[in-house]
């Protein structure tokens, strides 16, 4: 593993993280010995084949799953339950369908800043965050009245409104079409540039990983998945997808990720194993 790029003063530190799920056939080790240090303001992508435990890593950081070995430490405090300082942007937006975009963000803001903000400040903060994701025009629409990309924007606004120390994004754009996805990637880059958020993002998309990340964490295939390689993306920010398309370094990074995924970690699935894997996926999802 490449440890040279690990930062000296990390905001988040994963040490020897492993997890075992009990199954009727005995314990199933999904993840083993994951070590990762993330600096403040860094954007990290987790990439790997499905079932490799990317989501499990994210859920452990989020506190939604408990590591059975090792642990995650955020700013010197061990993570053992979910909390707003580790806001999650879920793959399928997870907005409360009976609330408008505004009310969805409001629920988060009211819960978190219950005592620290006045009503007017809360309103301003909610509107500010919706504005960040360019959703001011549809604040008072309910999720079923807006498009998938807009829903995901609201999901991001809700997460940002929690003022998280670290923003966790679980395949945030996976369910969107390519054009919408590009728009949202641009939005995230823009917001990250302005606010300097620390982000861990799960993705399947090699271009997305190279475009957005400071480092790409490539995971080996499960069971007992772990970090295979870490690739540092040394491209100047802000990045522009059109200019990068011709950039030899960009293409080289892309090629490195692809070769990891399709040569080193080529997924050969015997048919009989499918069942087990899909079960594992269901658990880690």
């Amino acid at each position: 593993m490449n440890n040279a790029d690990n930062p000296i003063n990390p905001i988040l530190e994963l040490t020897g993280v492993g997890i075992e799920f009990p199954t009727p056939k005995g314990p199933f080790k999904a993840l083993t010995d994951v070590n990762l240090k993330i600096a403040k303001g860094e954007v990290i992508s987790l990439i790997g084949h499905s079932g490799c435990g990317k989501s499990t890593v994210l859920n452990i950081v989020a506190g939604l799953l408990q590591a059975t070995e090792g642990g995650a430490v955020l700013e010197g405090k061990e993570v053992n339950e979910p909390g707003p300082e580790r806001a999650v942007v879920f793959q399928n937006h997870s907005l409360l369908p009976w609330l408008t975009a505004y009310e969805n963000v409001e629920l988060a803001v009211k819960t978190i800043f219950d005592k620290n903000k006045t009503k007017a400040e809360m309103k301003e903060w909610i509107e500010y965050n919706l504005n960040l994701v360019h959703m001011s025009h549809a604040m008072h629409k309910r999720p079923d009245e807006i498009s998938g990309g807009m829903k995901q924007r609201v999901g991001i606004a809700r997460a940002l409104a929690m003022e998280p120390k670290i923003l966790l994004m679980d395949e945030p754009f996976g369910a969107l079409d390519a054009l919408t996805r590009a728009h949202l990637q641009d939005s995230v880059m823009e917001i990250q540039k302005d606010l300097g958020n620390t982000i861990i993002m799960i993705t399947h998309d090699v271009d997305e990983a190279v475009l957005l990340s400071d480092r790409i964490v490539m995971m080996t295939n499960g069971p007992s998945a772990t970090i295979g390689e870490i690739l540092k993306i040394d491209l100047p920010k802000p990045r522009n997808r059109i200019e990068l398309a011709d950039d030899p370094r960009y293409n080289q990074y892309r090629q490195q990720v692809l070769s990891f995924l399709y040569e080193k970690q080529r997924k050969v699935e015997p048919l009989s194993n499918n069942h087990k894997l899909s079960k594992d996926k269901a658990k880690t999802a």
Binding site: A62, G63, L64, E81, P82, G83, P84, R86, A87, V88, F90, N92, S94, L96, P97, W98, L107, A108, T111, I112, R142, D144, M162
Partner: protein
């Protein structure tokens, strides 16, 4: 809602049809605009169905002889309905006259003797068919509302905890299929023993009927609420966890709104059962509602009785239908998912 069914069948038949049928269709389309066709279908088809039913009822009734004469057809039932209305109106006139006489008498007594304490006596005439409908509605709603007050929180608790669900499920499954007739003797005895008061606010027959209705209409709401609560999307639960919502906030902001559709499904089923159970309960408990009406007419055995029972049958059906529609309207009002197809 029903207006959509003919349109969709139109289009599918147009797709399938040969050019021959297509030309026929376009002729009717020219003569009659589509909305008119739709209206005719939405109004005419139910009317045709009802007429067909009346025809079968009328013919079948002709050929059934009972010890109380011929089985009542639609005409006899309608006559009985009219006579029930007349009786009701006469009773109301009598009642008004009674109170008038009482007031006059009291006024006269007061004039003679200013210290006289006025006594007002209630009119104690026989309840009419309309009164009995009123009693039945009050009884069923009391039972149903009490059942809902118990069932919804219970269902939420059961739905929130897998362990509680596992523990409660056998009990629910055991009592769910129990007929009201089995509960009634037990309820009657318990009410007689426990509900003892010199000046009872409610009649025992009323309390017995309410409790029986409650016991039978509890289960669909409990089960559906529990299922609704248990099947909340895990993502929404994760949102709640990440926000660290307090348990009560979680229940009110996430659990209840997201299970509202299932709660209402349960409530509608419960109200349907409550109404069915009520008639049986009133028959046996002698609560002066529709059930007692049917039973009294049956015991009475006059040549009009069967006709009157038939009126009661139709009224019971109609009220049950209306109660269901009202619940549906409430469900639509409270449901956040306005697109969901509710029928």
């Amino acid at each position: 809602m029903t207006s959509k069914i003919p349109t969709s069948s139109n289009s599918s038949s147009a797709d399938l049809s040969s050019s021959n049928i297509k030309s026929l269709r376009s002729i009717t389309d020219d003569v009659m605009p589509l909305w008119l066709q739709d209206t005719i279908k939405t109004i005419m088809l139910p009317v045709i169905g009802l007429l067909f039913f009346l025809l079968i009822w009328g013919t079948a009734a002709q050929s059934i002889d009972t010890s109380l004469g011929k089985f009542p057809g639609p005409t006899q039932a309608f006559e009985q309905f009219q006579s029930l209305m007349t009786e009701h109106n006469e009773e109301r006139v009598k009642e008004a006259a009674f109170y008038q006489r009482q007031d006059d008498r009291n006024a006269a007594r007061l004039e003679q003797d200013p210290t006289y304490q006025v006594k007002i006596r209630n009119y104690t005439g026989k309840p009419t068919f309309i009164d009995q409908i009123g009693t039945s509605l009050i009884t069923v709603l009391t039972g149903f509302i009490l059942a809902s007050i118990i069932a919804i929180p219970l269902g939420i608790m059961i739905g929130l905890s897998k362990n509680l669900y596992a523990a409660a499920n056998p009990v629910i499954q055991l009592f769910k299929p129990v007929s009201p007739l089995a509960w009634l003797p037990l309820v009657t005895m318990v009410v007689s023993a426990v509900y003892v008061s010199d000046d009872p606010i409610f009649a025992k027959s009323f309390v017995t009927s309410v409790i029986t209705v409650l016991l039978c209409s509890l289960w669909p709401t409990v089960l559906n609420t529990a299922v609704g609560v248990a099947s909340i999307s895990p993502d929404l639960i994760n949102v709640s966890k990440v926000l660290r919502l307090k348990p009560m906030t979680h229940v009110f902001k996430v659990v209840i709104p997201s299970s509202i559709p299932m709660v209402f499904t349960g409530l509608r089923l419960s109200l349907g059962i409550a109404w069915m159970v009520l008639i049986a309960a009133e028959m046996l408990a002698q609560n002066p509602g529709l059930g007692k009406f049917v039973w009294d007419e049956f015991q009475n055995g006059s040549s009009n009785s069967l006709g009157r029972i038939m009126v009661a049958v139709i009224v019971i059906g109609l009220i049950g239908f209306l109660l269901d529609r009202i619940m549906l309207m409430l469900q639509k009002f409270f449901s956040w998912d306005k697109q969901a197809l509710l029928r």
